[in-house]
Subunit: 716 residues, 2 copies
């Protein structure tokens, strides 16, 4: 009595074309149906993708990239390379506004902080991890045992060779553990960036939107030491020669063309129970939306007071707006798809199968057990969310960081919270220094008051301990003013807003720090300790889930008899599909191609819709060289849509045709796809790709970057 | 060397399908190409439309309607019948929320204020008018002579028979004058209205938008006295029997189907010179948008102070938002089409033709003469606009009305400003009484200050005389506070906010009114006198244009050799086209049909996107009877798009198929078509029609209005 879950999942699809769900790890590619993919347009063996094409793909930390020449040239998104452009830009070299082009190797600029990871090997270490888990362990001990085993595996690799980075990834929520050994190239340089008016055309306004007209691409280059080993930046370094690089095809594309994408999607959560999804959608997201909305209002008000304020809050407002759009997208999408109802139906079907079929009996009570864990989180969830978002107050969160660091630094490296292991300390130190630039004590005070007022609104038995300690004796009528006064007093007395004092605290050990008389440091430290304790409590729950969730995956697998795939977790994935439009709403159809005509149509003369004069002139004169597409009225294509399954972290991923040639760079998903992190709706989930043809057109006709064009293999 | 202007006009069209420009008067139908229309799908002679079908079409004042039964049943838009529904609704009979259905004649409800005009005859009176214009007359005298001749012609008809209404329409800006003689049916009753959740689904948010899902239809019935003559409401009246009524076809429609529309489009202005268009677009519209925006902000602020305030300002805010969207649409559309550049090119071509061709020489200097008239308006335009919008202050505008009425009432009826002729006085009196309901002195004071501050910002030589008199001695530094003080003093002392006082003033003659000591009455009266004087000045300009504009039309006609048509002026027009989607922006395509699925997709549970429970259930159960369309997935069609040329006043117009059967009711245009009032872009101008199939579905499955269904001729 096996049914296909997938059939249930497409009930709400309303158009004839369906996206292909699945982000497949390379070690599972052999499970895919080569014949089916060939029918769709794949022209090379899947083993060729696994063993060869994938060697051209690198992880750049927050994004993905790919080699496009034998000399280590990497193409990625403009927004992935943004830090490298920003680092090198100043008033006289405004590379953000004007773009950048190094016509020769020696003109390329360093990009400190950037690295490119190349996967050398993948090893299944499930056995090692499982051996560390002893029978009868508490869930908390189980969690710790797994964490320790992972740290040890990673450390062993990294100690054996300083050029390597190791990471153990939990696949299928702990059903399998894979050890990835990566070569980390540390000398990355900026080679080419278009003007922001091309590279981020549309800006935040177009974020998650289609039709899109962004030339979101840039070029970096990986260098290694003269001995061929990874090295920090040095003039003597030489370009890295990758095992494989991608050819670029700029032949016209058409609807239905096969596409596959290789990259490092960050995180999805598609194996929830309906109980989990319901709580997340209907309780946790609305609270977050409310918090974000309130905070943005408050920051905007502060920003409206002066130009300086406006600049300082701008970063946070932008970030919060992006987060809010993300959560709103999840909310809208899951409601639109009635995902909770679908999940409830699935859980009921699973339950029925468990109860009526012999092979299901081993899963008896499983869903209930998972929900029991989930139910333990519910009473503390609001408290945790509010406390968690207090990290948005830089001075306050610093108090926590300093307190935790003083605690952790006393431990041996391997025993520390991973965030405080030696490998991560230099970055932490830099962050504590650089935060000074955007510090605005006024906004910290406002937000601190806001968060404490939110806590005051919680039922008293949900009050955080630190909050209770501070205010339990205050009569309810005076609570609001007592909160305001305490916050003002703390900020009047704290040294955390001063960089020198802050770094002095950073150098202290636990005992020294405890002696400092700084009320905000103390208050923030207490909160950090309390969050740590709650997190320990969560570790016990996480340990329980690491037991239960693999069984849920097994259950779904057994019931549906379908090929599954693990949730995204920043490991390399293969996803396939084709070029495909969609209908976002009844009576509206989105074509999967945009062109330069659409760039001009959006032109307002104001950022983010102001194109460079030269680009407008190229359009006016129809000076498209050989880059126009007759099927698009002779126009130059700019972006296109595919139905590949991708998510954040995939940014910059090479999008390839059936021959394994690069045809574009993934840089976003559509608004309707945001909820696909939780439930994949094949009718609406689309990836947004910057067309390689536009990239080459810009290089050739706009930037005259002849050397770059010569270096790459471009198929016309 | 004759060229087609129309070719110039479609240069910017970007899709293959073009809307059909032209709102043709019935007396010019014989000029259209019957063969061409038959090729498009017309199946009856144009003469049949003129002589027969048009007899089913009535003007309902602000909108259009049509007879759909032998017993005077009229179908029109819900928003056209809204006043009739509102008049009959109270707390226990909430016909707005719940809708209304009279299952028999005796249950039908009176709709005072409504009338239906049926055109009896159309006579060309150009000769009579031209005879009134003497050679050597000043432009002002010319204007007056034409106005007087028109009044006389209209009065002659109306005096000959009290059941008739007459109106002389200036066609082609004065090239031709037509006398329309109409039978005015005065006993109009409400027969059926759907709930507002169907009839105005989408509300203001969807105004001018596609995709649209509004069931914008209602039914009225015309009654006459037992003698068959028009009569005021009486129980003894009997249903009117029209000469012709429309059959209703609910056969499935498809893209490309021929459509024609008969109705009373209100106003277009498509024969401007480029100088006129440039001034209107780049000077007058931006000032209006600024004024509206400021006023809405101020009203919203007042509205936020209390629930009462909110209700009182709501009407004005809604009206101003609609106006603002209209002007913004004109602005966006004309900029999008680069209409000024197109008009400049056309004017240059006309000028060249005038200068180089023999037949053009008679138009020498014509465009310059028109522009000279236009240039005379420019220096006073801002002043006039600001003064004009002061009518938005009810108490202030009443001061002007009372002052003008005291002046005009002394004159014989035929010599008065038409607004103050006896035929219009009862309505005026009612308005002055009913304004009390929404009066909010606080908002009048705020707006009055705002307008006077705007005047203060004008160059001193553009200050209105009344303003100058009040403030000329005030030093500039004190001007702002002096304005505020004067406004507050006037409102402290005025009786205009009091209904009894206001109606006392209304009864006074000029001498009596002059003796009243009411500062706001005096101030507003002075402004009204000044506006009158400026209008007199405008009459001279209007007189000049009535000489020049017909020549411009002749010139364009001679040059382009194309069939032209007069601007819309609330006379009956025929426009043809077909069912057709469009592309509002690159990569987006709008399909020309929406369905009940889209209604459900928009459902939020909150007005204006909350559907009645029963409708949602009909959808859930797919209980569509015979009304679903297989081509739309079996769904019930709701609205559709055509490329007919329509504008405001067309609301409720019957949309007909090639056989002259009603297939829907026009109720809106798309946002991109708003600018078509000035320049018609065939690629983007679309009409939005409520599908007759949805109407019949609602009557049958939602309201079970069996008697209505039986009364009509429905072709399935």
């Amino acid at each position: 009595m096996k049914k296909s879950l997938m059939i249930l999942f497409v009930v709400f699809a309303t158009v004839a074309s369906f996206a292909v769900e699945g982000m497949f790890p390379l070690n599972e590619l052999h499970n895919l149906d080569q014949k089916k993919l060939e029918k769709m347009g794949l022209q090379i063996p899947l083993s060729e993708i696994r063993d060869n094409v994938s060697k051209a793909v690198v992880s750049l930390g927050g994004g993905s990239g790919s080699f496009v020449s034998k000399d280590g040239l990497i193409v990625t998104n403009h927004h992935v390379a943004y830090g490298a452009i920003q680092y090198n830009a100043d008033k006289t070299h405004d590379y953000i506004t004007n773009g950048f082009y190094a016509p020769s190797f020696d003109k390329e600029l360093p990009a400190p902080g950037y690295h490119a990871d190349i996967i050398l090997s993948v090893k299944d270490v499930t056995g090692t991890i499982n051996k560390a888990v002893k029978k009868g362990m508490t869930d908390k001990a189980r969690f710790k045992a797994i964490e320790d085993a992972i740290k040890r595996l990673e450390s062993d690799v990294e100690k054996s060779n300083p050029h390597l980075r190791a990471s153990v990834a939990s696949m299928y929520q702990g059903r399998q553990y894979l050890l990835f050994t990566k070569l980390r190239l540390r000398d990355i340089r900026l080679v080419y960036a278009p003007p922001a008016a091309i590279g981020e055309f549309g800006g935040d306004e177009d974020n998650f939107e289609w039709p899109r007209h962004t030339g979101d691409f840039s070029f970096l280059r990986a260098y290694v030491g003269p001995d061929g080993n990874p090295a920090a930046y040095s003039k003597d370094n030489v370009p890295y020669h990758p095992d494989h690089f991608l050819a670029i095809s700029i032949k016209p594309l058409k609807k239905g063309d096969f596409t596959f994408i290789l990259g490092f999607p960050g995180s999805t959560n598609r194996y929830m129970t309906s109980n989990q999804l319901d709580f997340y959608l209907n309780k946790q997201i609305p609270l977050r939306l409310q918090l974000f909305n309130d905070i943005i209002d408050k920051l905007n008000k502060i920003g409206s007071e002066s130009k300086t304020n406006q600049i300082r809050v701008a970063f946070w407002v932008k970030m919060l707006n992006n987060s809010m759009k993300y959560y709103q997208g999840v909310y809208d999408g899951l409601r639109r798809d009635e995902a909770v109802v679908l999940f409830q139906k699935r859980d009921a079907d699973l339950q029925k199968w468990i109860e009526t079929c012999k092979s299901g009996s081993q899963y008896k009570g499983l869903i209930q057990s998972i929900d029991n864990v989930n139910d333990k989180i519910k009473p503390i969830a609001n408290k945790l969310t509010i406390m968690g978002y207090m990290r948005l107050i830089p001075t306050f969160s610093t108090a926590g960081t300093l307190t935790r660091w003083a605690e952790e630094k006393a431990k041996p490296d391997l025993k520390r919270d991973p965030a405080y292991m030696d490998r991560n300390i230099p970055r932490l130190q830099m962050r504590l220094k650089s935060m000074q630039r955007n510090l605005l004590v006024e906004s910290d005070i406002t937000l601190m008051k806001y968060f404490l007022h939110q806590m005051a609104k919680l039922p008293k038995n949900q009050w955080p301990e630190t909050f209770k300690k501070a205010f339990k004796t205050v009569p309810e009528a005076n609570l609001s003013s007592a909160i305001d006064k305490k916050v003002e007093d703390m900020y009047a007395a704290t040294g955390l807003a001063n960089m020198v004092t802050r770094m002095k605290y950073f150098a202290m050990n636990k005992k020294e720090l405890a002696k400092v008389n700084d009320p905000l440091l103390k208050f923030g430290g207490d909160f950090a300790d309390e969050i740590k304790a709650l997190r320990d409590q969560n570790e016990s729950l996480a340990g329980a889930l690491s037991r239960l969730k693999p069984q849920l995956i097994d259950l779904i697998h057994a019931y549906s008899n379908n090929e599954l795939y693990p949730d995204a977790n920043s490991t390399m994935r293969f996803t396939y599909g084709s070029i495909m439009g969609y209908s976002p709403k009844e009576a509206i159809w989105y074509r999967p191609f945009t062109t330069l005509a659409g760039v001009v149509e959006k032109e307002t003369g104001k950022t983010p819709f102001a194109s460079p004069k030269k680009l407008l002139e190229l359009y006016r004169d129809k000076d498209f060289g050989t880059y126009g597409d007759p099927a698009l009225g002779g126009n130059v294509p700019v972006d296109f849509l595919t139905d590949n399954d991708t998510t954040g972290g995939n940014s910059g991923s090479p999008t390839l045709n059936g021959k394994g040639q690069l045809i574009g760079l993934l840089f976003d998903g559509n608004y309707e796809s945001i909820s696909a992190d939780y439930y994949f709706n094949p009718a609406l989930t689309r990836s947004i790709v910057a067309d390689a043809d536009y990239m080459v057109f810009i290089l050739a006709k706009f930037s005259n970057a002849q050397n770059l064009l010569k270096e790459m293999t471009i198929i016309q």
